[in-house]
Point group: C2
Amino acid sequence: MTTTKLITHLPQEKMPYLLRRGDGERYLFGNQVATIIANAESTGDIFSAAVIGGPKGESFPMHTHPNTYESIYVMEGRVQFVIDGQSHLLLPGDYAHITPGTEHAYQLLGHRNSFISYSISGDITKVYPALGQSYEHIEYPPFTDHAYSEEHRRQAEQQADIVFSTGSTEFPAYELVSNHIVPDEVSNYVLESGEGIRLLTGDQVHRLLATQKTTDGAYIVVASDGPKGDEIVSHYHNHHTETFFCTQGRMTMWANDEEIQLFPGDFLHVPAGTVHSYRLDDHFTKVVGLLVSGLFEPFFRLLGDEYEHYMFPNNPGPARIDRLMENIDTLDLNVVGPPNSHQKK
Amino acid sequence: MTTTKLITHLPQEKMPYLLRRGDGERYLFGNQVATIIANAESTGDIFSAAVIGGPKGESFPMHTHPNTYESIYVMEGRVQFVIDGQSHLLLPGDYAHITPGTEHAYQLLGHRNSFISYSISGDITKVYPALGQSYEHIEYPPFTDHAYSEEHRRQAEQQADIVFSTGSTEFPAYELVSNHIVPDEVSNYVLESGEGIRLLTGDQVHRLLATQKTTDGAYIVVASDGPKGDEIVSHYHNHHTETFFCTQGRMTMWANDEEIQLFPGDFLHVPAGTVHSYRLDDHFTKVVGLLVSGLFEPFFRLLGDEYEHYMFPNNPGPARIDRLMENIDTLDLNVVGPPNSHQKK
C-alpha cells in the first residue's frame, strides 16, 4: 500500500495538511506578522485563517468585511477589539464573533500578542500580501520601519472582501470580556475564556463558541478540553471540513492513517473525505476547531449533555452514543474503525 | 560508567530532579489544588515552590509571611492580588514580588487560573497539607465541598511561616498591571508581562524580575525567551541552586549528562554541583528561573547588554564573553565543556 505523506506547507489546492506553529505564508505589515494557515486555494474556497502576532501599540484600522464572517480567538497578550462601537479587551481564550458588514478594528496592548482569525467564506487573508511584504522569519521583529499607505489599502480592497472606513480610528475605553451568552441569532458578540455552550462527552468538555444560529449555518467554532485520554473512533465526513488548532497541552492525531503529534500552535486541516481521529495526551489539553459548514453541530448536542461546570470531571461523564446511533442517518458521520485500528506501516 | 537516572518525584533530600507538569505533592484546599514542586527537604531548606490552580471565585484570605519572600508568576487566567492594600489583576506573564511581613491575599477571577508561587527561604508550602487534603488527580475538580476551618488555619500557622489576618478579606477594585520599574531596594511591586530589566545575550532576552536589590541578595528571578537556538556551554555552580520552569514552547536540557525535553509546566531542579546546559527548541520558548542565592545576577549583566525592545532580534546580538572572562573569578561559574560534549550512553 502506498501512503502519501501529509503535506506540511500551505498547498495550492484543497487537501489535508499539517502546519507546525509558524509555518504558512508570512507577511510583515507594520510591526505585525500575519501567518496565513488556510486560504481559498488550500480549503476549496470555503474559509481562510491567519495567525496574527505583534507587539504593544500596533493596530489595524477600522474596516468592514461586507460578505465575510470573522471569528477571533486570542492566544496571548491583551488585544483590544472595537466591534460595532463596543470596545472590549480580549485576553487569552476570549472569543469575538464579527458578522458580515460590521465595522471593527483592533489594537495590541500586551508586550506580546497573538490571535487566530478565521474568515468564512471570503478570503480576507489576501489583505496581508496587499498591505505587507513577504517575511522570512517566524516571529515578528523587535522593531521595523515597514508602513503601508493609502495605496496599499486600495489594493487590499480590490483583492479581498474588505472596505476601510474613512477618518481616523478611535479606540474608546475598553471593558474586560465577561459575556457568557451565545446569542440565538446572527449577531456580534464576545465570550469570556471558558464560556460557550458547554457539552460534556465522557471526559471532554466541548464549548460551542459559534453555532449554526450565530452563523446562519455557515460554520461552527468548538473549543474542547480534556485530560489524557483514549483515542476516539476513526471516522470521516462526506460534506464538511474540520480543522484542529492545538492551543494547550499536546495531542495525537491520525489523518488518513498518518500519526501526528500536535503541540500548541500546530494546525491540522481535515477536509471532507479524510479519515481521522484524535487522542489527548496531556493532563490538560485544549484544541480549537473550526467546522465548515455548521451542519455537524447536532453531533455535539446529541453526544454530549449540557454541563454546568467549567472544568472537566475527575471521572468521565456519559457519552450518549445511544442518541448518536438513533440519529446517525442525519449526521455527516462515517465510522471507519475502532480506536487503534490504524494501518501499521 | 554508572549513570544515576534523574529522580522524577519530589525527593526527601536535596538533589537534582525533574517534575513533569502535575507531578509533585498535591493538596486540595477548597476548590483549589496546590502542587508542591519544591520544599525544604528537596532544596536543602533554601526555597519552596508550588503551582496553584483553581476556578473562578476561589480565594486565599489575607495573611502575612513574617520571614519569607514570595514571588508569583501567573500562567493562566485572571488572578487578583491585594498586596499591602494595592489591588492588581495579574494576567499570564505578570509578576508579583511580596516582601516578608507584607499583608496579601488573592482571588481567582478567570474560569481557569494557574500561577507559580516561589517562597524564600521559609517553607510556606507546609500550609497546604495543613489546610487541605492529599489529592490524587492532576487538575482541580469541577466542584467540591472541601472547606478548611479556623482550626486548620491555626495548624498552618504552627507549621509554616504564615499568620492569617483577623477579620474578613476585602478585594477592592483592581487595576491591570502596567508597572515596568524594578525597584532598587527591597519593596513590594508588580511587573507587566514582558517587563523586567531586559538583557540581550545573543538571540535570547533575559528579564530580571527580582534582583539582589529587591531580595536583599536572597535570590533572583529571571524570565528568558528566545528562538530555536544552539546549546549553551555545559557548566556547574559551586554555591547557588538554579531552577528551570518552562512556560512556553519547548527546550532540551542536560543535567549530569542526562538529556531531558521540557514542555510548558515542566520543572527542573538544579542544585549546586549539577553539570547542566540547555537549548531552546521552539520558535518562541520561554523559561522562568529562580536562582538562590542571588549571587549570579552579575553573570547576566556581564554577558548581556541592556535591551530596549521586548522581542528578541531576528539576527543574534552580541554576547559579551569578553566581559565574562575578565570577571570569571568573581562568578560562581565552572565551564565543563563546549556544547554537545555530553557523554554518549
